[in-house]
Every structure is written in structure tokens, then in C-alpha cells.
């Protein structure tokens, strides 16, 4: 009887019983006393109310544990009463991951459950990029009279992992993102390029191809030819994941961070395909850094990173964040000639200052800015004006800006490129 708490549901019934009994005595009507007697029976029922020991097992089945984005995944929740007592009043609310929205059917269940019996609820969630773990399921148990209630939690580990392919979207003219600074960067470091640099003494392990056979024939010495090392341009995709960037034009709409990560993953793939060395960084409380590189392994690493790194989660982060420290750290990590593609909704002034500072340090900065503003309220309209002013300010200071509205990214890019190449 100590389990659960009193709901106070029947409070006041005792008073009605007394009033009825008093009226019965006063009027000498037996019927009123009988009615009071019925009330006493109910009070006794409420008094003995108790909840049996709750022992539930839950299982969850996903129709597809690794879906593509926007796929509908059917979730089957099975609740089994493993205790020895019947649960007369059982209400279950499943712990759907915060970033997933339920498309069909509530993730809830209400039933009475005999020992050993199982109840099932089915609902559908819409997959979005990320690794989504189910929270614990909340269970509300009441005694049949509703006088005592207990809240319990049960958990079953379930994870939905949605890792979109980093597909080479051929129709995206993404080469333009770096074209302004295109071309291989030539260095003065001797290595394995095309242009002749110097000849040095042979060291064990030098490739046979690069041995100077003419000299060998002439003098009998082994020497190695060195060429000027060639390095591909390195591009770092920086995604604005600050709490400020977690905004959306509506309740069910994609958040600006989700769109930024989308843009970054598309750009990553396209740039990698065109031979650049690409890195990834998050500008937010959760640190994330993938140094520029290339190759199939790198692509797989990035794919996993975009999908599962907590920094890129669609839910707002709650850690403390010191933006100026983060800017300094980012600067230290960027090679001096690295180009930056900064994905940010630019809904506050700090995003602008990050882009301007990186540009001032000599990095070529392109801002890809998903537009999360609406005209729904006065504040929203003002926010749209403010964002427009920020884009103008950035463009005036020489930063290239891609304003990405509702249209596909490729369309926005083609339009922006027309402006850049003027």
C-alpha cells in the first residue's frame, strides 16, 4: 500500500456521505441513510485501493533500423506484465527520441493487463539524419478506483540510425563554391609533383621510378630526382551548431541546423569528388573536427560524422559555449591556405562576425545560409529584415554568400554563382 501516491480523486465523498446521513436523520428518511450507506461502501473500496508490484517488460521493433531520411518507420511497442498481479489501469507513453516526429498514431497505450499478458501499440516515425536512441518509457499505473497512482519508467534499448549516403549529386554545380580560388596550390616543398625541383642523394626506400638513371649510367652513383610537391586546395566545412542556430520557420519544419548539415554533407561529397581535400568542423558547444583529407575512408568517416556526431544532432545542445574560444581553436586548426565554407542561418550577429574574422585571417570564406525566417509574426518579419541586412553586410565586406531559401540547394547555388561570376 506504500506504492504510489494518493490522487485525491475521491476527496470530498466522505463529506457528501456525512451530509446525506445528517439529512437522513433530520428528515427521518431511511432512503437517504441507505444512500449514505452506499457512499460508505465506496469509501471502503477507495480505502483498500492498492497497486500490485509493477514489473513490466517492454520490447520495441522497428520495421527498419537503418532507414533513409524521410522514410516512415513503423515502431511496434510490446508491453508485457511480468508481475503476479493484474494491472487494471495501465497507461504507457513511449519515449520517442526528441528529434523524431511521430507521423501516425500516438506512441501511447492504455489497457488492463493480466499477469503474463502482452499489449501492443504501433506508430510511425519519420526518419531524419542522426543516431536516435529511445528514451525510457513512462508508465502510469492506477488501482481500479483511481485513488492511488504510480509513475514508473521502463526502458528498452532501441536505436534508429539514419546515415544518408554522401551521394555525388551530379546536378549540383558545387565546383563553383571553390572556383574563385580554384587550382592546385603549388608549394616549395620538394616531393612527388610534376615540376622538377632538385636532385639529392638516393635514400633507401625511394621509388625506383624517381631514380636518375642517366646519372647512374654516367657516374655510377644512385640519385633521386625530386619534384615540387603539389597539394590540393583544402576546404573546411564549418557548420554553425550554436544554440542560436537551432531555429525553424515552424513546428514541423526542418531546423536551420539540419539544413546546414545537409548543405555541408552535399558540399563535402561534391568537393571530395572534384579532388579537393575536405574537412569538417562544428561551431558550437559540442566539439567536432575532421581534418581535411581525401579518399574513400575519409568519405566514410565524414558520412558517419554527419549522421551520428552529437554536434550535428537536430536537438539544441545544452552545454556552455564560449564562441571566442571556439573561433581561436578553429583558427589554429585551419591551415593558412584553407578555404572555409560556413553553413549558418545568420539569425544573429555573431555568425556574421565569425565569417568576417575568418575572412580577415586570410581564409577564403563562402557562407551557405539556409533561410529559416517567416512572415508569421511581427518579430519574424523583423528577423527577416535583420537577416537580409546581415547578408548585405557580408557581401559588402567581400564574403561570398549563398542565400538558400525553399528551393533545392542546386537552384540556389546556380543563381548565386551567376552573381559571383559577374
Amino acid at each position: 500500500m506504500s506504492r504510489g501516491f494518493d490522487t485525491e480523486r475521491w476527496t470530498g465523498l466522505d463529506g457528501l456521505v456525512l451530509v446525506a446521513a445528517g439529512a437522513g436523520v433530520f428528515t427521518r428518511e431511511a432512503s437517504l441513510l441507505l444512500a449514505a450507506g452506499l457512499g460508505v461502501v465506496v469509501l471502503g473500496y477507495v480505502r483498500v485501493a492498492a497497486i500490485p508490484e509493477v514489473s513490466l517488460r517492454i520490447e520495441r521493433d522497428l520495421s527498419d533500423a537503418t532507414p533513409d531520411p524521410d522514410d516512415e518507420v513503423e515502431v511496434t511497442l510490446r508491453v508485457t506484465n511480468e508481475g503476479s498481479g493484474t494491472l487494471f489501469d495501465l497507461r504507457v507513453v513511449d519515449g520517442v527520441p526528441p528529434a523524431l516526429g511521430v507521423a501516425d498514431g500516438p506512441a501511447r497505450l492504455g489497457t488492463a493487463l493480466r499477469p503474463g499478458a502482452t499489449a501492443t501499440a504501433t506508430y510511425t516515425v519519420t526518419a531524419v539524419r542522426g543516431e536516435h536512441a529511445w528514451d525510457e518509457t513512462v508508465v502510469v499505473v492506477r488501482d481500479p478506483s483511481g485513488a492511488v497512482e504510480s509513475r514508473e519508467t521502463v526502458s528498452a534499448e532501441t536505436t534508429l540510425r539514419c546515415e544518408p549516403e554522401l551521394a555525388a549529386t551530379a546536378d549540383l554545380p558545387l565546383r563553383g563554391l571553390t572556383s574563385k580560388y580554384a587550382g592546385r596550390v603549388e608549394t616549395d616543398v620538394p616531393g612527388s609533383g610534376l615540376e622538377f625541383a632538385s636532385i639529392r642523394e638516393y635514400r633507401h626506400g625511394d621509388p625506383i621510378r624517381r631514380i636518375d638513371w642517366n646519372r647512374r649510367a654516367r657516374t655510377g652513383e644512385l640519385a633521386t630526382v625530386e619534384f615540387r610537391e603539389e597539394r590540393a586546395a583544402s576546404v573546411v566545412l564549418v557548420v554553425d551548431t550554436r544554440p542560436e542556430a537551432h531555429v525553424a520557420p515552424g513546428d514541423e519544419a526542418e531546423t536551420a541546423v539540419e539544413r546546414s548539415v545537409d548543405a555541408a554533407s552535399v558540399a563535402f561529397s561534391a568537393l571530395l569528388d572534384s579532388g579537393d581535400s575536405v574537412g569538417v568542423a562544428a561551431f558550437g558547444p559540442d566539439e567536432c573536427w575532421l581534418a581535411p583529407s581525401s579518399g574513400a575512408d575519409h568519405r566514410a568517416r565524414a558520412r558517419r560524422l554527419f549522421a551520428t556526431h552529437p554536434a550535428f544532432a537536430p536537438t539544441p545542445p545544452d552545454g556552455a559555449f564560449f564562441p571566442s574560444v571556439a573561433v581561436r581553436r578553429l583558427r589554429r586548426r585551419l591551415a593558412s591556405d584553407a578555404q572555409v565554407i560556413f553553413c549558418s542561418p545568420l539569425v544573429d550577429d555573431y555568425g556574421v562576425s565569425v565569417a568576417r574574422r575568418l575572412e580577415a585571417y586570410g581564409h577564403a570564406v563562402t557562407v551557405v545560409s539556409p533561410d529559416p525566417t517567416t512572415t508569421a509574426t511581427i518579430g519574424a518579419r523583423l528577423a527577416r529584415i535583420e537577416r537580409d541586412l546581415r547578408l548585405r553586410e557580408l557581401r559588402r565586406s567581400g564574403v561570398r554568400v549563398l542565400d538558400w531559401g525553399d528551393e533545392p540547394l542546386g537552384v540556389a547555388l546556380a543563381r548565386a554563382e551567376a552573381g559571383w561570376s559577374r
Binding site: A20, A30, S31, L33, A35, R108, L109, G110
Partner: protein
């Protein structure tokens, strides 16, 4: 779909209003004033359920109680009054439960089994209780002295005080 509709469930609303209607019908066998009271209480219960207001549902319960009190005081038959009391408690209980289930699980969840079990449990307790009380009354039929009634009332008051948490 984003949020559930936190309103009293349709199942519970239908059951509560049916029982309230039957109770009003039963009150019709007592006095016309009590029947009108029952009607007002039923309307209030419907309003409380459609508005999703626990306070109005409670007020409807209070109106049922006043109707019972009036019917009893004006010499209603024992059977009719006991039946109406049973109906009043059941109607309020179903309405309140519909509200509670609606708050927890919303209208979208299938809660038929949950609410039927709850209704059955309350109905069984009330039916058994009414039978016991009625049986005791029959057994003691023949005009028991008022002394006994008062002693029993004092006893009930004391026991209720003990039972009340």
C-alpha cells in the same frame, strides 16, 4: 500529427453521459424537481466533458447529489433513490476517468479496454454495495427505533473519520 488531443475520451464521455441519462430517468420516479435537477446535472456533466473541465464535472456531481438529497427528503422510494445514487456515483466516476485518461493518453489512443475495465470495476463495487445496504434495510424492516438510527449514524461518522486519510 504533433500533439495529442488532451480532452476527455469519446468512449468515457459516451458511457458517462449514458449513465447520467439513466440516472435522470430514475430520478423521474421520485419527484419532478429532482428529475429537473438530474437533467441540469447531466447537461453540466456534458459541458464539463466537452470543455474538458474537471471543475464543471465535479459541479455536475454536486448537482446530482443535491437532486438525490431533495428526492430523499421529499420521501422518495428507497429503491429509486438507491439506484439513482448508484447512477450518480458511476456517472461522475466515468466522467472523471475519461478526463484523466484523456489527459494522459489523449483522444487518439485506443482506450476502450482500459475504460471498460474501469467502468466494470466501479459498477460491480456499487452494485454489491447497494445490494448489501438494501439487504440490511430489508432485514431490519419493521420500523427500527430512531435510537438505532442515531447510534448507527454516530458509528458511521466515527468510522468515516477513521477511514479518511
Amino acid at each position: 500529427m504533433s500533439e495529442i488531443t488532451r480532452k476527455p475520451t469519446r468512449t468515457g464521455t459516451a458511457m458517462a453521459l449514458s449513465v447520467a441519462g439513466l440516472t435522470t430517468f430514475t430520478l423521474g420516479f421520485t419527484t419532478s424537481t429532482a428529475a429537473v435537477g438530474g437533467l441540469v446535472a447531466t447537461v453540466a456533466l456534458a459541458a464539463g466533458l466537452f470543455r474538458g473541465s474537471r471543475r464543471i464535472v465535479d459541479a455536475a456531481g454536486g448537482l446530482f447529489f443535491l437532486s438525490l438529497l431533495f428526492a430523499g427528503a421529499t420521501g422518495a422510494g428507497t429503491e429509486a433513490l438507491l439506484l439513482a445514487a448508484l447512477g450518480s456515483i458511476l456517472a461522475w466516476d466515468l466522467a472523471e476517468n475519461a478526463h484523466s485518461v484523456g489527459e494522459h493518453l489523449g483522444r487518439e489512443t485506443d482506450t476502450l479496454r482500459l475504460e471498460l475495465v474501469h467502468a466494470a470495476a466501479t459498477l460491480v463495487v456499487l452494485a454489491v454495495g447497494a445490494a448489501v445496504v438494501y439487504g440490511a434495510d430489508r432485514a431490519a424492516a419493521g420500523g427500527q427505533p430512531i435510537t438505532a438510527v442515531v447510534l448507527l449514524l454516530v458509528g458511521v461518522v466515527a468510522l468515516v473519520t477513521v477511514v479518511t486519510r
